[in-house]
Point group: C2
Chain length 342, copies 2
Amino acid sequence: MIKTNILKIEYNQIIEELKKINSDTILFVADHQVWSIYGKDFNFEELTGKKVIFWKAADGEKAKNFNDFQNCLEFFLDKGIHRNAHMVAFGGGAVSDFAGFVAATILRGIDWSIIPTTLLSMVDASIGGKVAINAKVGKNLIGAFHMPTNIYISESFLKTLPDTEMKSGMGEVLKYCFLDFGIYDLAMKKSDRSELIRACAEYKQKLTLEDFKETGIRKTLNLGHSFGHALEFIYNIPHGDAISWGMVLVFKLFGNEKNIHDITALKEALEMTDKNPPWQNKEFPVEKIMTYLSKDKKISALNSLDLILVNDIGNAVVVNKTFEEIQNALELNKDELRKFSL
Amino acid sequence: MIKTNILKIEYNQIIEELKKINSDTILFVADHQVWSIYGKDFNFEELTGKKVIFWKAADGEKAKNFNDFQNCLEFFLDKGIHRNAHMVAFGGGAVSDFAGFVAATILRGIDWSIIPTTLLSMVDASIGGKVAINAKVGKNLIGAFHMPTNIYISESFLKTLPDTEMKSGMGEVLKYCFLDFGIYDLAMKKSDRSELIRACAEYKQKLTLEDFKETGIRKTLNLGHSFGHALEFIYNIPHGDAISWGMVLVFKLFGNEKNIHDITALKEALEMTDKNPPWQNKEFPVEKIMTYLSKDKKISALNSLDLILVNDIGNAVVVNKTFEEIQNALELNKDELRKFSL
């Protein structure tokens, strides 16, 4: 398996880095919105000797559908590309999920690299080679494991990142704080953002290399994700926000008091001011959550699901729960959850 | 990487074998036509404790399109499957290409097995984990490498196989005769069909294990395929027939006298009576072939293509040819080719 090169670069070095890619053909997939801001700064003519084929992807999750997937594949194939072509995804996690799945399946797989432009992608989505599009019944259910060759991290892009996206990225940072004591420590000491980004990316890279196909330790990265994806789907909220509330939910149902204490302290240290869950003061959506979970990727048999729990910072475990146990726990706690805030 | 188990079984053992699959959920994808003959003999209720979800695929290559791919994925996902589900493809090479690509991408990949029902699939398509659907501009351009767990070979299915399909399968057998002296020898000694099937399947398995992602020795299995796919596309002829004429073409253009002598002798030994190429007495389609080749998966750079040549039986080599060289050779030989027969 490829070990991804995580390269911290300045924004104005990107073209120089692309020149080094060992291919005469670059398939460049850019997020629509990101391109509208930064496109003018990319002069592909500087890539002498390389043919650049450009595809503009829809904004964010909108790109991750079957039609766009097919259109993008047919577009590149029609240009007469070859197996040594190299794809470059430019944008947030959605565009790298999408472009990476095109890279995984075009001509049975070509090499690819990512220029992440969001915090979420820098710390999480771009690392580890999970690529996917969405199915009608759920997010990321159709995809592959396809490791990128290079990830070019330039924090300059964060200057133009909308606040909602910054906040969403912090949801994944919060997750890492529970998985690794080093990252927890950086957060509690209010270390600077660059250090946090580097630590999260390196931690995920480490787990990915140990367990590429997610049969063991890598599963812990799904902390907060089973409930999180359900919340993202039900309330249509940003991914990272959903993950942070997914963590709260799994901690409330199956975790311990300290988990909730830690999440409060960490959110304060990370300056995440959002204290009210999306379900607050509404009917708690037990049935919708159960329907969503029954189609989750992490279910391992017909009647159960692997959840991630955290005994203490840096000590996450995989726990199999039956749907019945989950439903009972939700029913039992739904009235308290309705009134809950951090 | 998984080493596929190639199991020779009797037809009536299939259900017993499926019982042994270590999963509580079987996604069964059957070729429409094959199912109309054999479906009545499959009683899935005997698979106690397993949930069987059944999808009937269109006949042959017709299944390998984007719409069917999407519909099949959404169908299975809607049933609430999980990552330990196991797919079983039942039919010829087209249905295993199709089902295997669904298995490769559903929930980022689940295990799968094949019950090949055609000669072509028994000796070639089912082995080695290449799975794909077709793009508008060419065959198998969208796919993955996804090794099957088990291949259950039961020659009983060949009893109902149409003659055209048997003949097509022999095209791939002919190819193996050039790659491996042992298979050549079996063919020339007119050994029985079972032995030939076993030898071809094992030979392909061996090369696949040495070079799963086709960066070296596995490429030799593409003998006849670059021109063959073009002929298949242009004349709408069965895959194996196209491959045998693709071999003739590459031998005539870039091979040696002995290649043509060998192909004549082997076709006689294998009782392949077809002596006239599909282009005979028609205008030789230089331009159409070149257009097709420019989008072939085996091109390795913008202006060239890897072809397979055979110095002598068992001694195949990969030779890179520019499109210009290929076009010149086609132009130079087109009048002779028009009149050529074996």
